[in-house]
């Protein structure tokens, strides 16, 4: 047996290993649970929840890009109440950490959802601040430090003892500034990056491929952007980071850890290979053993910048 310690601690929550499928790519675990044992995962971020059920956007919702994809699913989900009734009882029995991802129309909605999830015993809440703030003219909460901080404070005020991780949007000029704002507002951890805004066009019809015209870019293509941002945030704030964006195998996971991540998210890579998270966990263990790394947490922030 290997002597590598793969466990990490994210916002006070112990994960048996750092690999976590990210929100929106993994449903509530039912589908990929047919391909591998979910208990092999460090944790999983379930599909983004809203206070009320949402139908999502009209199709087409996905478009391929070089080494990546765009999506405009639009937060289709059954609502937090249905999640707690239909999914959480099954998930809470699993020996892996379920992370509930939430999106609100108002700060009050974030607070309400945090209260419900915390009361149900969900171990970690991920707050998506990439949603539009209606009062601020549709500007995403995550694009302005004061708005991101407001949502963070509201979430923390209602989450009780449940730790709150804030998921940052990369569609900003100064990611470190946003990170500092949510850290000051009491966030227990930060996850990044959410998707980058993008577009593709059908040259025959001259229509955007996505019905919503634009969507979020993910996949291996965004890895360098994600690494840079995780590194900047790790340098700016003293909070654990769930680093995500373009990770597809053990080596890219090691890069993400070295950039400053404590745990590593995987998303689009699972679409290409359902076994990608499991292979990455094994590969990470092998890599550590080969490189004389006895605990994977030693890698966090270990990049040696010039």
């Amino acid at each position: 047996m290997s002597e590598v310690d793969l466990s990490v601690t994210l916002a006070g929550v112990r994960l048996k290993n750092p690999i976590v499928p990210v929100s929106g790519t993994f449903g509530f675990g039912r589908e990929y649970g047919q391909y591998f044992d979910l208990e092999r995962l460090g944790g999983m971020c379930v599909k983004g929840l809203t206070l009320h059920p949402r139908n999502g956007n009209p199709p087409p919702r996905v478009a391929e890009t070089p080494m990546g994809m765009l999506n405009s699913v639009g937060l289709q989900n059954p609502g937090v109440e249905a999640f707690l009734a239909q999914e959480w009882p099954r998930l809470r029995e699993l020996d892996t950490v379920t992370i509930a991802n939430i999106s609100g129309n108002t700060p009050a909605e974030y607070g309400q959802m945090c209260e419900m999830l915390s009361a149900a015993g969900v171990p970690l809440i991920e707050v998506n601040v990439s949603c539009p703030n209606v009062k601020a003219g549709g500007l995403a909460y995550g694009t302005r430090p004061d708005l991101a901080a407001e949502v963070t404070r509201e979430a923390k005020a209602h989450a009780g003892r449940t730790p709150v991780m804030v998921k940052l949007s990369p569609n900003v000029t100064d990611i470190a500034g946003i990170a500092r704002a949510v850290a000051d507002a009491g966030a227990d951890a930060i996850s990044l990056i959410n998707t980058l805004r993008g577009m593709r066009i059908d040259t025959e019809t001259r229509r955007p491929i996505l019905r919503m015209n634009t969507g979020g870019l993910s996949g291996p293509a965004v890895l360098p952007v994600a690494l840079r941002m995780v590194w900047e945030v790790h340098s700016a704030v003293d909070l654990p980071i769930l680093g995500m964006g373009g990770v597809s195998d053990a080596l890219t996971a090691v890069e993400m850890l070295l950039a400053g991540a404590t745990a590593v998210g995987m998303g689009s890579a699972i679409f290409a290979d359902p076994m990608a998270p499991v292979k990455t966990i094994q590969g990470l263990e092998d890599w550590c053993a080969e490189h004389g790394v006895s605990a994977v947490r030693e890698l966090t922030g270990g990049v040696r910048p010039w």
Partner: protein
């Protein structure tokens, strides 16, 4: 439970301009995951393409030493172009069999309505019900017609339509469906696969004659297993369903044809 399998390409045959029939050795995929004709496989198509390509199964069988399945696809973009360049003996990374197929009874009598590259999955339906099916197949032109001989052998009757009249009658598949139903409505159901306008027409014809109709739908797809919610289609009751997991086959009456 779905299977991810490295499948050997054992036969590659051109069946039309830019269209290929692949026969794959699929381990125990058919044995473990076959539910009904009309399911699909999700095939990786080489880097830099992240996403797999969903392709309906044409025919499949449990076999020794390996299950066999055939798919027919048309080169439509870079992924299918890459696929068409594979050679016999190459291996493909395949997820399958995915989705729910057509709900069929072995003893049923079915009217199969297929258009273009939507024709192949109906071959599995023709086989399933033991020669009692009537097929209405439509193509853009005679040059584009595929699988005529297998359908001829597997069906009670095959009626052909082309847009330009170069083969069979001039007209659309829905016209052919109406012509059949005018004389004979004694079908368990109509099973349709093809482009959306064709499906809409066939669904309308089925409604007019009061014959149940199932349609195989298409949408841009990512995960293929129901996790990402990418391949949504709108249903008549306003809800969203997903081609990969809830479909690809739906009751025609449940689909919102107006969007």
């Amino acid at each position: 439970m779905p299977v991810q399998q490295s499948c050997k390409l054992v036969s590659k045959v051109p069946v039309g301009p830019g269209a290929w029939q692949f026969v794959l050795e699929a381990g125990e995929m058919v044995d473990k995951t076959f539910r009904a004709p009309g399911q699909f496989v999700h095939i990786r198509c080489g880097e830099p393409r992240l996403l797999r390509r969903p392709i309906s199964v044409c025919a499949c069988q449990s076999d020794v030493p390996e299950d066999l399945l055939s798919v027919v696809f048309e080169v439509r973009g870079q992924g299918t172009a890459w696929l068409a360049e594979r050679e016999e003996g190459d291996s493909l990374d395949v997820l399958g069999l995915l989705g729910n197929g057509f709900q069929m009874e072995r003893e049923g009598r079915y009217l199969l309505a297929g258009g273009g590259i939507g024709v192949p999955p109906l071959y599995g339906c023709a086989q399933f019900c033991g020669g009692r099916a009537v097929a209405v197949l439509g193509f853009r032109s005679a040059q584009r017609a595929i699988l005529l001989e297998p359908f001829g052998k597997a069906c009670e009757d095959v009626r052909l339509y082309t847009d330009d009249g170069s083969l069979g009658a001039t007209g659309f598949v829905a016209d052919g469906v109406r012509a059949v139903l005018d004389k004979d409505k004694n079908f368990t159901a109509i099973l349709a696969c093809g482009p959306k306008p064709m499906l809409r027409g066939v669904a309308a014809a089925a409604g007019e004659y009061g014959v149940p109709c199932q349609v195989s739908m298409e949408e841009r797809m990512a995960c293929g297993v129901g996790a990402c919610l990418g391949c949504a289609i709108q249903m008549a009751d306003g809800t969203m369903r997903h081609v990969c997991k809830d479909g690809p086959v739906f009751d025609a009456q449940e689909v919102d044809w107006n969007v």
